[in-house]
Symmetry: C2
């Protein structure tokens, strides 16, 4: 149907998350029809460069240009608390709140027996190795999914014997959300987790 | 917020059609976190390669790897009819029907006084130059938008004096669509364009 280089280009974009065949075609034609050769080569170079420059932080496993990353290397962060998340974009999400000042640990996934993802496939041992010096609390901020919760429970059982406080982020009705549209499990969690006003 | 190479990567994807900030972040983190270095470099190379290999056909102005393109160079196509479209992906859409066997002409846009796009900004002169040898009909298949229709009217006024038949694709209710949800203009066009059963 399409010329081979166009088809290849479409296939490249089709493999990205949230992009189907139609969107991939639209993007490919946009690049070929509306972008200059310079813009296209800048895009190609940015992809290669980002992939070369960005590594995992040897401490928290987050994506970073320098090692240790800015957060792990910062003097201003509270080094007694580690917030455990599944993915680098979860770190970005929490950082945007400007409310958390501790450290992070990125697991790069969650336990999932169905998909064959076991403890050694995610960065759990790297987390345990960090728990020697002065860590007082580990906040489990994995996703509120079956796999995320199982991962939080699994890790907390490994950490609790060390005498470190392990907490889980609160589940409940999202702020600005409508009670009517909250699912039952969320409502149950919201009631269970109620606090004094 | 993000490291510079990550931010640059996000910006590259953000400029693509249909991709907002959130999707661009998701794609950038997917590339950095889940794609291998080989996969990322293959993607970068595919973009560069496609942009280098794919040119405009010197006859119909469609995107093509060889010049003239497969359609213009084919012995099987009806060389007396030209279907005029706005963009290369419109050619793909019509080709998928397997019902049209003539040639194409890609304008690469539509007239738009509001955006400063005038006749010399799209491939109109290239179309006029093709109308010497044996062309019997020009089908205006620009989009059924204000700009697309204006472009069709503008071009048809240039071509009609040459004694060539100029037609416009039919407007009407989409097949499988629901009359109830058709807008008024479409319904008016559908009634105006009614045919004997």
């Amino acid at each position: 149907m399409h010329a081979v280089p166009i088809e290849k280009l479409i296939e490249q974009f089709e493999q990205l998350p949230g992009i189907g065949r139609k969107s991939a075609e639209r993007i490919a034609f946009h690049i070929l029809d509306f972008m200059s050769a310079e813009q296209a080569s800048a895009m190609a170079q940015t992809i290669s460069e980002a992939k070369t420059k960005i590594k995992f932080c040897s401490v928290c496993q987050n994506l970073t240009e320098k090692d240790p990353c800015e957060i792990c290397g910062s003097e201003k962060r509270d080094k007694t608390t580690i917030c455990v998340v599944e993915n680098p974009k979860d770190v970005s999400a929490i950082e945007k709140t400007n409310e958390y000042h501790g450290l992070y640990h990125v697991l790069h996934g969650a336990l999932s027996p169905m998909d064959g993802i076991s403890p050694e496939d995610i960065k759990i041992s790297e987390l345990l190795m960090r728990l020697n010096n002065g860590i007082k609390e580990v906040i489990m901020a994995t996703n509120p999914t079956v796999n995320g919760t199982a991962t939080a429970v699994y890790i907390s059982k490994l950490i609790q014997p060390m005498g470190i406080r392990v907490t889980r982020i609160a589940h409940g009705v999202p702020v600005g959300g409508d009670l009517e549209y909250a699912d039952e499990i969320t409502l149950i969690k919201a009631i269970e987790g109620r606090q004094n006003m």
